[in-house]
């Protein structure tokens, strides 16, 4: 089953998103801060991370970088959740390899389609990587 790591400090939006993702058949691990995000990632090796770009005490970009370092044997697609059009943060997020941006408020359709494309994208990359190795 596809594992999703959801890093979001607002408990209500985290709960709504978890319900949606579970309902759509994903396994969801929720973390509300950087340390628990890294702990969950180490333990469960997620296939996709949904990451709030403005986490308190250490921003989302930093967490993204650490997650990428942690999971080095495969590319972890990261979808950043943003609350406003923070252009400068977006640029930074792109540098750490953001798969997509999900702007609050969002529709379930948008959320699920972004996850699908992120999974397809990373599967494709895996194929390419394997092909190169062969």
């Amino acid at each position: 089953m596809t594992e999703i790591l959801l890093v979001e400090d607002d408990p209500k939006i985290a709960r709504a998103m978890r319900a949606r993702l579970k309902h759509s058949g994903f396994t969801v691990r929720v973390a509300s801060d950087a340390p628990s995000a890294l702990m969950q990632a180490r333990k469960h090796e997620p296939d996709v991370a949904l990451l709030d770009i403005s986490l308190p005490g250490g921003n989302g970009i930093e967490v993204a970088r650490k997650l990428q370092d942690l999971i080095c044997d495969k590319e972890l697609p990261i979808i950043f959740i943003t609350a406003s059009k923070e252009e400068c943060l977006k640029e930074e997020a792109n540098r750490v390899g953001a798969a997509a941006f999900l702007e609050k408020p969002f529709s379930a359709k948008k959320l699920l389609s972004l996850i699908d494309s992120a999974l397809i994208g990373s599967a494709h990359e895996m194929e390419v990587a394997t092909a190169i190795r062969i």
Partner: protein
């Protein structure tokens, strides 16, 4: 000081301006005692109070000891010379508003220019000094320095006000940003919870319940649009909103724009029609921002239409450009409001119920089109509907795509 009686030639009517200037203290710095006394006499007779010094350093000491409103300075002082003393006076922050009048000998006019460049208020040729010339020069120099002082004070005040306004503006912008951020997160949660119920994640939903949930979702989206407009508006103000231009497909754009206005059109029983000319080349612009503009124009058009009326999105080629127009047959806009509608926070005074909105949409639309190097045109007649249109450049051929 020797006082020689000179017959008083006071005029019967002294201008009040000059009356107020009597009692001004003038410092004469001149090494020639005869000259010094002569100027002192002329000035004293005109009601000025006079101090004298024979050397520059002596004069500078007097300046530090008591307030002086004007200095008469001899150019031909022995070491230090007149210009050096002048520079000492004008470069002293405490004396910077004390006007200095340079006294030069005949044939020395060129030094007068140097003196003026070094900060002298005026210069007088020693041989041509008369009572009236001296008085006029002192009074003018004093008044000029007073004005200069006032202007500087005003400039300082303005700078202070400007600084505090800028700070305030920054605060407001940050505040908008924080507000929108703080509102969007709970808004996103509310929208998602409603959507979960609607999708029957938490159990079956009746048709009526579903309808209400749908309306709640629309309210959430409306709120999100308002918040985005608020943010866009402040970002446009700060020049922080940038557009990303590229060739784009018209069909996709129109689909996106009409989709977001369709719920409102359905509610108000207004039909949206699309009229796109065949075989149009691709326009060049920021697709998302153009969709935002069209969506705003469409929702305005729908709001100003009556039930059963039609709003048309028309796209056609006009010369070497692509014209986008939103045409309605609704209430129209009176000519007096036609330029105002693009102003921020502008609301057309309504007799009937308010059409609502923050008054940001059209001003944002205008700015966004302006960022594309184009303008929004309005054609409207009260009671006969409106047409809002703008033109975009045609994308250069495939090899040129992405440039410009």
């Amino acid at each position: 000081m020797e006082n020689i009686a000179i017959p008083s030639v006071r005029q019967a009517t002294i201008p009040s301006r000059e009356q107020a200037l009597e009692g001004l203290r003038v410092l004469i710095i001149d090494d020639n005692p005869a000259d010094r006394d002569y100027y002192a006499r002329l000035l004293t007779r005109d009601g000025f109070s006079v101090l004298t010094a024979g050397t520059g350093p002596e004069g500078l000491v007097i300046l530090t000891q008591q307030p002086v409103q004007c200095v008469l300075l001899d150019y031909n002082l022995p070491n230090p010379n007149g210009v050096d003393v002048l520079i000492d006076i004008v470069s002293d922050p405490l004396q910077k508003y004390v006007p200095v009048i340079m006294l030069t000998g005949y044939g020395n006019q060129h030094v007068a220019v140097d003196a003026m460049k070094s900060g002298a208020a005026d210069y007088l040729l020693k041989d041509e000094i008369t009572a009236s010339a001296l008085k006029r020069s002192v009074v003018n120099a004093y008044e000029k320095s007073q004005l200069r002082q006032e202007i500087h004070a005003h400039a300082r005040d303005l700078e202070k006000t400007n600084k505090s306004l800028r700070k305030r503006n920054e605060e407001i912008k940050r505040f908008y940003h924080t507000i929108s951020h703080e509102i969007k997160t709970p808004l996103a949660a509310a929208r998602e919870f409603i959507s979960l119920i609607q999708d029957e994640v938490a159990g079956p939903v009746t048709e009526e319940q579903n309808e209400y949930l749908e309306l709640s979702i629309e309210c959430c989206d409306q709120l999100a649009t308002h918040l985005n407009n608020l943010i866009d508006s402040t970002r446009l103000d700060a020049g922080k909103l940038t557009i990303v231009q590229a060739p784009f497909e018209i069909a996709g754009l129109i689909k996106k724009a009409t989709a977001s206005a369709s719920a409102l059109a359905r509610d108000l029983d207004v039909e949206i029609k699309v009229d796109i000319e065949d075989n149009l080349p691709r326009p060049y612009g920021d697709k998302d921002r153009i969709a935002q503009v069209l969506c705003n124009l469409l929702s305005n058009a729908v709001k100003s239409s009556k039930p059963k009326q039609v709003v048309t999105v028309r796209v056609r080629r006009v010369d070497n450009r692509i014209e986008f127009a939103v045409v309605d047959n609704g209430c129209g806009i009176d000519e007096v409001h036609q330029t105002g509608v693009f102003d921020r926070l502008y609301q057309i005074p309504q007799d009937g119920p308010s059409v609502g909105g923050l008054g940001l949409g059209l001003s944002i639309a205008r700015e966004l089109i302006c960022l594309h190097g184009s303008t929004i045109e309005i054609q409207s007649k009260l009671g006969h509907g409106s047409t809002f249109s703008f033109q975009l450049a045609i994308a250069a051929d495939a090899g040129e795509e992405g440039k410009q």
